[in-house]
Amino acid sequence: MNSKTRTFEKIYMGIIFLFMYAPIVTLIVLSFNKSKSRAKWGGFTFQWYLSLVRDSEVLNALANTLIIALIATVVSTIIGTAASVALMGMKRRTRSLVMGVTNIPMINADIVTGISLMLLFKVLHFEAGFVTVLIAHITFDIPYVMLSVLPRMKTISPSVYEAALDLGAKPLFAFRKTILPDLMPSVISGALMAFTMSIDDFIITYFTKGSGFDTLSTKIYSEVKRGIRPEIYALSAIIFVVVLILLLVSNRIKAGAGKRVKKSLSARGERIKNIALAAGVVAFSALIVVMALVYGGVFSKKSTQVFVYNFGEYIDPDVITMFEEETGIEVVYDEFESNEIMYAKIASDGAAYDVMCPSDYMIAKMISQDMLMKLDKSALPNAVEYIGGQYYNSAKAFDPENEYAVPYCWGTVGILYNKKMVQEPVTSWDILWDDRYSGEILMQDSIRDAFMVALMRRGYSMNSTDPGEINSAAEDLIEQAPLVQAYVIDQVRDKMIGNEAALGVIYSGEAIYTKRENPDLEYVVPDEGSNVWIDGWVISRDAVNVDNALAWIDFMCRPEIALKNFEYITYSTPNIAAQELIEDDDIRNSSVAFPDNETLERCDTFISLGEEADRLYNEAWKRVKSAN
């Protein structure tokens, strides 16, 4: 072969290799990044590897992922291998029919498979969670096993097996001694494939999982919209290195065994290979089981629990641990990205959360649909004492008697802009329609917030139910769409920190954090007015652990806990005692964290609009989103 082609081949393989591994190198680099924002290199650190050990949420998700993958692999390998062997004894027509069905989960779009199983579980009143995800994984794993085993099975001659039977061997014994050794490599490669697919699956798990249950995939997806916590980078770097070592070692052993086969021409090499593989599998399984026992959510259920459903990145994780340690109640903590997604989850039977933290208008909607429970104030002394009266007053807009909700955070919505990119003063929502900033604008990817901007800009109420007004707001948003770089939720943060955009619609709580990371950023509430919102703790009408839920809410209202949360999430706290505890004068007196009355007078609160208006908004939003 001439050296020119050789070089070309090497370069070609190098490019593909670079393409495959560039993102992985990026992730590993990010795992050592001191800054929590992926958009900024803050220096080298090992801290995420250390805090990973204490991050029970991530470790739980990891344990779940591994347990599901392991059980699903074992079950699907047994069922699939048995079926492949049996199929050989069947008529050709039956076989092709069965293969047609087997192919369905592979050919079918994942989203359709996931949805079809979700519908089945719902109709059967199966509670979504560990078992439903496991069933789903077994279902899509079986085809991988069969497609690996069946072709091999076709090449195996039955005569040795039949000879063994003639010589008096029992069928099972004969199978084990004559067919299984030949079949084993394909069984193992099928099982490995199944395991890999199971580990990597997101879509099917996403649709079949219930509340409080997450695999790594679904955990990561819920974090994607707001920036992934660095511990996850650290974890994947570890997984990557471990798997790399395992694969290299097993390759070494296989290669060694292969050579021996050639030398001795005996079955010994083959046997060594199988033993080595089996040992590898056993060792890895043991590791998984240990992990599961130490961190697993599956076996180590504490006797009493509370199911909490909160916005993403909306609590200091230490607070959860403190609560668990003090009360002995296990917290099953889940996060959502938007009120609408939370509502969809709660409204389906599958999700059983005790205590949630939705926003004002969503609380009103849930009250009107009788989804919430009146709170027993005698169990909430901290809430009564420390939450400011003015906040309870504002909360009357959506909870007239203050019976259902305890305010947790509040703030405004405004424009975050980069002073280096926007020289003029920002005073109006109009600037988001200015084509000089085309491609530099980040809009909120949530229906009410996006429409609030358009409605306020036109001087309409943000709670408009008038079809004409909604329509013209939608027209404006469609007109704006070509200028918008992306519709995002908490990603506004990282993108603004990384100078990716000039202007972004954001919640006031993020302003303090982003300014700290990038001093060029400034936050304003436009003159036309904006949304002032309150998120509050509420208890589901169907809550099972009511006492624990009340204990949770009251714990959140302790001044030192509220302060700890404020310092972590930088969203304004309605806790008067906590406000006084803030040490940093700039923040205690910050007009961003605690806007003055003049600003607040321009602002309005969302109220629930009713089903008919919700439908109008949903349809209009779909038109906006498909306008590009």
Binding site: T26, A83, V85, I107, I111, I115, L247, N618, K622
Partner: protein, 272 residues
């Protein structure tokens, strides 16, 4: 083998039961939801909704991007498969190591990482700037989604193509050359036709997930490029219209039907 049909059926029965309950019945559920409304009355409105402009647009765009991604995957994977198959020194173990390994890093993380790479002030543009080259604007465009698709699904194209190339007996190639065919003719008339099954399986494994993804388009398209997968996902998680979501999914099930027809046809060819 296992000429005793009773034993064979007993051995296969766990699978039959499983396939019936968890493959066939759920598909029936989708059909049932897709062709009824809230009141339980039969309707074709949900499936017909695919013709609405915003749905149709999402479907057509998804098809377009999926076709582009599949073609790129094929063009990248085939030469690679040939290089790998030619240099037998690379044992199959190494191949799997290289291309399966990334799959152990979560699919979403890998895609997310492309965001950091592709952003306007991201890693790639950082490099370009350093060498005073013009920067590229890809993030939040369809191109970024295509990159994400190609990246995620390329291994599914490489595997089957490599396998079918590696299976070709060198003697067949040599025979063609001995009989006077040049390299191009050998490739077109011998190598390529022999790898058609691998190509078909690779194309299926890339095209379908690309067509129906919603995660890749959300992350790399900035949520402003809606594919059919996004539309369906939102019907279930946001607007909460399960009937409409199922109706639109029914449209995607057409690929099962196509595959079954292809399967049936190839069975027939086998029998000849």
């Amino acid at each position: 083998m296992f000429k005793d049909p009773k034993r064979a059926h007993a051995l296969a029965s766990p699978y039959f039961v499983w396939a019936l309950i968890f493959i066939l019945v759920p598909l029936g559920m989708i059909l049932w939801y897709g062709f009824t409304d809230d009141a339980g009355a039969v309707t074709i409105r949900n499936a017909a909704a695919i013709a609405q402009p915003e749905h149709l647009k999402a479907l057509l765009l998804a098809i377009e991007l999926a076709v582009i991604s599949t073609v790129i995957c094929f063009l990248l994977a085939y030469p690679l498969g040939m290089i790998l198959a030619k240099n037998k020194m690379s044992s199959q173990g190494i191949i799997t190591t290289i291309f399966i390994l990334p799959m152990w890093m979560n699919f979403l993380l890998r895609t997310f990482s492309w965001m950091t790479l592709l952003e306007n002030h991201g890693v790639i543009n950082g490099f370009l700037e350093k060498f005073h080259l013009p920067t590229v604007h890809v993030i939040n465009t369809p191109s970024a989604i295509v990159i994400g698709m190609v990246y995620n699904f390329l291994p599914f194209m490489i595997m089957p193509i490599y396998n079918s190339l590696a299976k070709i007996d060198n003697n067949v190639i040599n025979a063609a050359r001995d009989l006077g065919a040049n390299a191009v003719q050998t490739f077109l008339r011998v190598t390529l036709p022999l790898t058609v099954p691998g190509i078909i399986s690779g194309v299926t494994m890339v095209f379908i997930p690309a067509l129906t993804t919603f995660a890749i388009s959300t992350m790399l398209g900035g949520s402003k490029i809606l594919l059919i997968g996004n539309v369906i996902e939102q019907e279930f998680t946001l607007t909460y219209d399960w009937h409409l979501g199922s109706g639109l999914s029914v449209v995607l099930m057409i690929f099962i039907v196509i595959n079954m027809i292809v399967q049936a046809l190839s069975e027939k060819n086998d029998e000849l």
